[in-house]
């Protein structure tokens, strides 16, 4: 009898505890600030897919789309912090200073800033994805599929993130085809279908028969479809926009990270972090491989994907030379994260200069 009471007492305590934890967990509210519309099928779209994953995990979410990086960002952030949100994801580089500014005023709210480098207060974390790993896969495919040996690349801004992508893409393409050249057109925009389309046309006119992109709209793959050349989807699976042109896409998969971080807030285990996840952690995902690719290429890509995930292969393995022939990474070595974060020189095989 005595034992029975203790047992039921303990089990009801456990039960109560579980319910309370669950109730607390469900109370956590997450907010997302987007640079573009949720329907852009690129950068913002994928962040919103991540937000939906947080909703599916049982948390309440709020989002504000089309927030310019002007003086308005700060007001939106403050309003979100003021209206009962426990964690706020700011999903564009330009929100870096407003995020840190507002974080100072709201020490109890957690802030997560994508692609930035400033963590001025203990409640600010940063996160980014190793998209260059995905570009190693694209480079391998491009180097194999090109017939003209000219590969076009529409780039956004000359920042390390983009230069790194160009380099890892070119290195991988050279590995399978030493004769290729990568031609770059700088669009100086992340999202402008008109400008991106012009850039893609210019590259096709210069003989490129595979087009890669580091901008977010679907304009480039659609131009490629019309011109009968190959292309790769950016940020989301763009196959449905250009079924013949798109060989595969590199998808930004933020969901697992978002769910993880919101749960950490709910459990009280959240702490400041600088996250840089790649294929291995599932933040970078390669879409289905198109059947136009030969079977041996497809199996090669699958293996490369697995090796990048396990760390057996690194995108930047020496010997790597810059355009002038200077050694950047020695044979047998790999580039460390510090070098990757500050990468501002092209590797050999990339045509042109980085705009200054």
């Amino acid at each position: 009898m005595h034992k029975f009471f203790i047992r039921s007492f303990v089990s009801s305590l456990v039960l109560l505890f579980t319910f309370t934890v669950a109730a607390i967990a469900k109370d956590v509210k997450a907010a997302f600030v987007y640079i573009g519309p949720t329907g852009d099928h690129g950068w913002t779209y994928q962040h919103d897919v991540g937000r939906k994953a947080v909703e599916a995990a049982g948390f309440k979410t709020t989002y504000v789309e089309g927030v310019p990086e002007s003086a308005d960002a700060e007001r939106v952030l403050r309003q979100l912090a003021n209206s009962g949100h426990d964690v706020i994801f700011t999903t564009s580089f330009g929100y870096m200073n407003p995020t840190n500014k507002v974080a100072k005023e709201f020490p109890n709210v957690k802030f997560e800033h994508a692609t930035g480098y400033k963590r001025e207060h203990p409640n600010v974390s940063t996160y980014a994805a190793r998209f260059y790993e995905g570009r190693t896969i694209l480079g391998t495919i491009a180097g194999t599929m090109t017939k003209s040996n000219v590969i076009g690349y529409v780039a956004s801004f000359p920042i390390p993130e983009v230069i790194r992508g160009i380099n890892s893409f070119t290195l991988a393409a050279q590995k399978v085809n030493p004769n290729i050249k990568t031609k770059i057109v700088w669009a100086f925009t992340w999202y402008d279908p008109g400008k991106e389309a012009e850039a893609a046309k210019a590259l096709i006119d210069q003989g490129a028969d595979v087009i890669a992109q580091h901008t977010d709209s679907t304009a480039i793959v659609q131009i490629a479809e019309k011109a009968g050349v190959y292309a790769f989807g950016q940020a989301s699976d763009m196959d449905k926009f250009a079924p013949k042109a798109v060989l595969t896409s590199v998808e930004n998969n933020w969901g697992p990270y978002y769910v993880d971080r919101v749960k950490a807030v709910a459990n009280g285990t959240w702490s400041q972090k600088d996250t840089w996840h790649g294929i291995g952690d599932g933040m970078v995902v390669i879409s289905d491989l198109d059947s136009q690719m030969p079977a041996d290429l497809r199996s090669k890509v699958k293996k490369l994907q697995a090796d990048l995930a396990s760390g057996k292969v690194h995108s930047f393995t020496g010997p790597i030379y810059d355009q002038k022939g200077n050694l950047m990474v020695a044979e047998g070595k790999t580039a460390d994260d510090g070098m990757l974060a500050g990468m501002m020189t092209y590797v050999k095989g990339v045509e042109g200069d980085i705009p200054k």
């Binding site: 907010a31 519309p37 709020t62 989002y63 504000v64 789309e65 089309g66 927030v67 310019p68 990086e69 002007s70 003086a71 308005d72 700060e74 007001r75 939106v76 403050r78 309003q79 979100l80 209206s83 580089f93 330009g94 200073n97 480098y117 801004f157 000359p158 920042i159 390390p160 100086f188 974060a341 500050g342 501002m344 705009p355 200054k356």
Partner: protein
């Protein structure tokens, strides 16, 4: 039976009544849109127009938002009153911000009472320089100022892009497209602790007072008015048209440049690619909604400013798409232009008589 009759003279009462009518019609149409989208119209309108300014912080944000709109619209009213169609205030804002930002960067980590006035003056001069291009081309080469001023907007944005990506980018900033943060000595002082409203609002208020004085108390104001009604009359009266064209463009450019200064030395504190969410274009709506009258422009800038804030609040609390803010701005202009019909025509209800 309804009959439409042309008025002998545009009605003055209607002239000031139509903006109010336009706002009212916008609210009705907005409520209808919310209803069609499946939101409760009154609740949505409350989140749009009342909640954002219900507290002290919200009210200061309203003034912060209205300041550049008011300043630019005052400048534009000089042009529009005298039949000069300056559509490029956004470019003048951007170029003013570039010049003043450049000066602010020159004084990086320096102290001195003279720094801020220099930075402000540089912005006004930048705006004037940029506005003088369409003005000179119009007066001496007969070009169309609408096209020239509009095209120059894109040029100014490209210049800004070039500077923040290249020579002026923050040396410690990993090449991201932004400059250093300005030192405090180059920033407009905040008026209240914890609020973002800054001393730039006094520039806007000064512009309002000066413009009122010029419009209604000076010979120049009279000349502008006459040129606005009829260029031929102005020429016949012997007014020096070219001088006036250049002058109104310079005033307009200075105001837009100062609005740019207010943004970069106020809430932003640095130069980057997006210093203005198209204030220069929205201010055109403000100028017309305010009937090109200084006091009217104050009210109009507050009304339009709230559409920006309301759109954010409505999305946060009701998940209404934020782009409804732009729909509201568009509707205000649309209804204003439509109700201007009443200025020149009146509707008569005539009972059928035998």
């Amino acid at each position: 039976m309804i009959k439409i009759v042309k008025r002998d003279q545009p009605s003055r009462a209607i002239f000031f009544f139509t903006p109010v009518l336009a706002i009212f019609l916008t609210l009705v149409a907005g409520g209808l849109i919310f209803f069609i989208l499946g939101f409760k119209p009154f609740e949505a309108l409350k989140f749009f127009f009342i909640v954002p300014i219900a507290d002290k912080y919200g009210f200061s944000e309203l003034l912060l938002k209205a300041t550049p709109l008011c300043l630019i619209a005052i400048g534009l009213s000089f042009c529009f009153k005298s039949n000069n169609w300056n559509i490029g205030a956004e470019g003048q804002l951007t170029f003013g911000a570039i010049v003043s930002g450049g000066v602010a960067l020159l004084f990086y980590e320096q102290e001195g009472f003279y720094i801020l006035p220099t930075v402000i003056l540089a912005g006004a001069i930048g705006g004037m320089l940029y506005a003088s291009i369409p003005a000179i081309l119009k007066t001496y080469f007969n070009t169309n100022e609408i096209l020239v001023s509009l095209m120059l907007v894109y040029v100014s944005k490209l210049i800004l892009d070039y500077l923040v990506v290249g020579p002026w980018s923050n040396p410690e900033g990993f090449n991201f497209p932004e400059t250093r943060q300005f030192s405090d000595s180059a920033k407009l002082p905040l008026l209240f602790e914890g609020l973002r409203i800054h001393a730039g609002i006094f520039l806007a208020l000064a512009a309002v007072v000066i413009s009122w004085f010029v419009f209604y108390k000076t010979y120049l104001g009279f000349q502008m008015k006459v040129s606005g009604f009829s260029l031929k009359t102005a020429r016949y009266a012997g007014y020096k048209g070219k001088k006036m064209i250049i002058l109104v463009f310079l005033i307009s450019g200075a105001c837009a440049g100062l609005a740019g200064v207010g943004e970069i030395t106020g809430p932003i504190g640095q130069l980057h690619r997006e210093i203005s969410p198209d204030y220069g274009f929205t201010a055109i709506i403000v100028a017309f909604l305010g009937r090109l009258h200084p006091v009217g422009i104050i009210f109009a800038s507050l009304v339009v400013a709230i559409t920006y804030l309301g759109a954010e609040t409505a999305q946060i609390f009701m998940q209404i798409p934020k782009y409804t803010g732009q729909v509201f701005q568009g509707m205000i202009l649309f209804f204003l232009l439509a109700s201007d019909y009443l200025l020149f025509f009146k509707i008569k209800f005539i009972g059928s008589k035998k």
